[in-house]
């Protein structure tokens, strides 16, 4: 199983996952043109996609969804409430390309098992995914106000995490956002801060080689250096020294991460 975080942040999200038989995308939150460019950067083509798994209906996750699905005839997977919420947002997608992926279920695609799980975010029925193949596991979890024990149970022990590290609380408090927006971000249905993410990570990583991709960084209230520093130091207070078996990686709103094997 291989993956690349093509783009991450409030300007658009898309994560590419493949095995030898299939290629998938989790979310398509950028324009079709941008997505095509990102695919070209990792030497892949959208024509070969076997499906797009949708996490929730926010525009930074579905902006290019309808366009690319229609253009390349790609099947879309989402839960029923998300399908309803996307009505009118992604245009008309032929019904033979629309598939249900219920919350907390597993669907298999050849040797690749995809499991959905609920997160806490202000969308109708937000969910994220873990990918399993040959005992290896990739967990994707962003857009959640907190990481519950249930979520931790599902993602625990992954070999690679795409983990939200959205903001620094100090920067958020200092920034010019209206108070209502700050409150929303800090709430249980908002986004996870660097420190909270690190504490959650410390409870789900096993003592084995693990890659953690810090994702969905706020453009205004976080920085790559800060997120890495903050997560690394918090992990250290929880007894995990990064660089030993846990390795942190940046993601970017415009640059895909290297396609790596899990």
């Amino acid at each position: 199983m291989r993956f690349s975080v093509l783009a991450s942040g409030s300007s658009g999200n898309a994560i590419f996952v493949e095995n030898d038989e299939h290629q998938f995308l989790v979310d398509a939150g950028l324009s079709g043109k941008k997505l095509e460019g990102l695919f070209a950067n990792i030497n892949r083509s959208m024509e070969d996609l076997d499906g797009i798994f949708v996490t929730h209906e926010h525009s930074d996750h579905i902006k290019g969804l309808g366009v690319v699905a229609r253009r390349y005839g790609i099947p879309i997977y989402a839960n029923a409430k998300t399908w309803q919420a996307m009505d009118g947002l992604i245009g008309t997608v032929p019904s033979d390309q629309c598939f249900d992926f219920d919350m907390e279920t597993v669907q298999s695609f050849g040797g690749l098992d995809v499991e959905s799980f609920a997160v806490s975010h202000d969308a109708v029925d937000p969910m994220f995914y873990t990918f399993h193949q040959n005992g290896r596991k990739l967990a994707i979890i962003t857009d959640t106000g907190y990481v519950s024990d249930r979520m931790k149970g599902i993602i625990r022990g992954a070999d690679a995490f795409v983990f939200e590290s959205n903001h620094d609380v100090g920067m958020l408090q200092m920034c010019r956002y209206p108070w209502s927006v700050k409150r929303r971000i800090l709430s249980d249905v908002g986004h996870v801060s660097n420190e909270d993410a690190a504490v959650a990570m410390s409870e789900v990583v096993d003592e084995k080689e693990t890659r953690i991709y810090l994702s969905h960084l706020s453009k205004d209230n976080n920085m790559k250096d800060l997120a890495r520093m903050s997560v690394s130091q918090t992990l250290e207070t929880c007894g995990i020294k990064t660089g030993e078996y846990v390795h942190l990686f940046d993601t970017d709103p415009e640059e895909p991460t290297k396609l790596v094997t899990v």
């Binding site: 100090g170 200092m174 010019r176 920085m223 250096d225 520093m229 130091q233 918090t234």
Partner: protein, 270 residues
């Protein structure tokens, strides 16, 4: 149909349309600029009406980065370089030094010799900048610098030098940061003019006052477990009508006004 005539008519019509659209664009652009000028002018007028003045504003870097640093410990090997001092450390990070041979804080002319003292007697002494001298209580406060910029009111970046009634420096308390790192991403900095306008519009500038200086430094934005992150910060020094001075501090990226509260204040200490 005469195509040549039709073509000419099209060209003329589109040329006229282009001229019209361009004039429309110009007039809107000028209007927008006028509004901006009017805003600045109206603030200037208001400042003038309230008799608030400022001198020439400084040049400033248009972009600056956030900076991180770790709290230093004072290793014995470093302290051993300094003779005739007795050192005690608290948590390895707070240094209390007592001079065994007192150093005179002023020369015969009454000039303070604090910089000489720092250079000779204080570990990393050249990294500190004088903030203020409290003559009646016989001590001076220094802030550590990041390059030439002071870190405002951070207990972990302060040096306090004490002297006795005879003017002999007797001791100092010191904390220090090391491992400074600039973050990669630079941020746009508010101009001094923006800062004054913001302070005025939020009622921080009193009538009949004079902005005597506007200068850049850093202040603590984030405290991590080992590291602190500093944000560029404007300091605006204002002379009030009665001759007293007050300082205002503003995050130079976000424009938020910062009110410093040192650990001493929080602990209710004098």
């Amino acid at each position: 149909m005469d195509w040549n005539k039709t073509k000419t008519i099209f060209i003329v019509v589109f040329a006229i349309l282009n001229v019209f659209l361009y004039s429309l664009y110009l007039s809107q652009h000028t209007e927008a600029r006028n509004v901006q000028t009017l805003n600045e002018t109206s603030i200037d007028e208001s400042l003038e009406q309230d008799n608030i003045t400022y001198e020439e504003l400084p040049d400033y870097p248009k972009e600056m980065s956030y900076v991180s640093a770790d709290i230093s410990t004072f290793p014995k090997s470093e302290l051993d370089k300094y003779e005739d001092q007795h050192f005690v450390t608290t948590d390895d990070t707070i240094l209390h030094a007592t001079l065994e041979v007192p150093f005179n804080v002023q020369n015969a002319k009454g000039d303070y010799l604090l910089n000489d003292f720092l250079k000779e007697y204080v570990p990393y002494g050249e990294e500190y900048l004088l903030w203020e001298i409290i003559e009646e209580n016989q001590f001076a406060v220094f802030f550590q610098k990041v390059e030439e910029y002071p870190i405002y009111f951070n207990d972990n970046a302060m040096l306090i030098v004490y002297w006795d009634e005879k003017g002999n420096i007797t001791s100092y308390d010191q904390q220090h940061f090391s491992e400074f790192e600039h973050f990669n991403k630079k941020k746009d900095i508010l101009s001094p003019r923006d800062v004054i306008n913001t302070l005025y519009s939020r009622d921080y500038l009193k009538r009949d006052s004079k902005v005597t200086s506007v200068s850049l430094g850093y202040s603590t934005l984030i405290t991590l477990t080992k590291t602190q992150v500093f944000a560029p910060t404007w300091r605006v020094r204002v002379e009030l009508e009665d001759g007293e001075f007050e300082d205002h501090f503003m995050n130079a990226v976000e424009g938020k006004i910062i009110e410093f509260k040192s650990e001493r204040d929080e602990n209710g200490e004098e």
